[in-house]
Amino acid sequence: MTEDLKVIDAEEQEIIINMGPQHPSTHGVLRLVLSLKGEIVNKVEPHCGYIHRGIEKMSESMTYQQILHLTDRLDYLSAHINNEAYCLTVEKALDIEVPDRVKVVRTMLDELTRLASHQLWWASFGMDLGGQTCYFYGLRDREHILDIFEETTGSRFLQSYNTPGGFMADIHPNFQKKVKEFITYFRKKLPEYDQLLSGNIIMMERTKGVGMLTKEEAISYGVTGPSGRGSNFSCDLRKLHPYHAYDKVKFNEVLRTECDSYARYMVRMDEMRESMNILEQLVDNIPAGDFAVKMKPVIKLPEGDYYQRVEAARGEFGVYIISKGEKYPYRVKFRSPSFCNLSSIDLMTRGNKIADLIAIGGSLDYVIPDIDR
């Protein structure tokens, strides 16, 4: 039996192919259905849900302390920030003011998390564009932050160090020393990143003018974080709605007006410097005092709606809790930055080449568990 093979002229006819769910540049299990004409992308349709775990549903039958451990499994690269957003919501509902020591240390751990996340993003972004060396540079430096986490929080990756009311334990005596050492080390190493990638002609050719997203589009699509700020959308919640010690430190909100992939890249590079500035201002000023407020063993939130927004490494992370006054929440919603950022990928990629999709996806820096929840 023979079947006649048909020759399709890909330049003439639109073809549809799957990219993923197992594809190295999607950084996880995400399937993108591409409509192609030749090498030009006409449409990108993301298919999500390959690692959907139903965290919002699970939360409805868990106590407030238990839910905490689900939050760092959303965006695992900003685990601490997610924990903290959740704790802030519970603390806000119970009208608890955490001690100053907790506020300052949380801010510092936030910035360390952001640095570690941006380092890994830089590493994988370089690799997406064909620069294998970047991966080793990024991971080498990230290791120093993970060591600090391991010592203080007991875990390198999914810390769950926060708890409603403060921390599980006090910081390690070496914490300040280690952070100072890291800043000195990384200030020397960050220029290497620029030498290797920022000024690289191949990298500039592949990102400048690619994946345009205007400010109005960024706002309408809810693209926040460094990706939104690359389009001049002033959305840094650390400035707009300060929490913890962010109103006491001086830092700049990094904004760029070019609106392309390179702008999003440069925002993250500059944010790493700003994060180090914040750490430097706080490292010698950790107030003495308790590391947690004493909480009741069973937490019951008063009836009502509670919402908290924080700036995670990828953008705005929101926690929305509806309580009916019981020990389980009635409804929990996590507004995840990657989910909203992903919705703009179709708009940004239309008319570009397949290879540009990789660069655009890398510049959006999405994390799949954060999309699927």
Binding site: G49, H52, I219, C235, D305, Y320, C340
Partner: protein, 150 residues
Amino acid sequence: MTNQELRDSIGKIEPTATFEEGKQYLNVFVTPEKWYNLAKQLKESKELGFDYLFNLTGVDYGDNLGVVYHLESTTFHHSVVVKVLTNRQTPEIPTICDIWRTAEFHEREVFDFFGIIFTNHPDLRRMFLDDDWKGYPLRKDYDPSQNQRY
């Protein structure tokens, strides 16, 4: 704008809207029929300028299903929460994804988990679950046994 001023301006646009002062934001209740027009005005009005939809949540309120919209203005930095309730038997709410584009994915997610039909939505399919999934898992009366396939 303060919450009182927001209340006055929204009340002028939509006289049937009811208000409730929340702990954090001003809550506005509006019926599905009036919602699309109000949404358009909220975005386009010069004084209100709610151009950023930062969250969209589906909620099962027991007797009703509802959608909660969190809105912010990026110029004036004031926020408002709009709650639209619909009945359980034929849950229908007009889509607002042509006003705030981020709603397109959010509404698909709410459809997936609550079965709320967003009328005029360009591509209303399940977002995370399989197309042949039975029931809407985040509804409080969902029975998980109907999907034990493996």
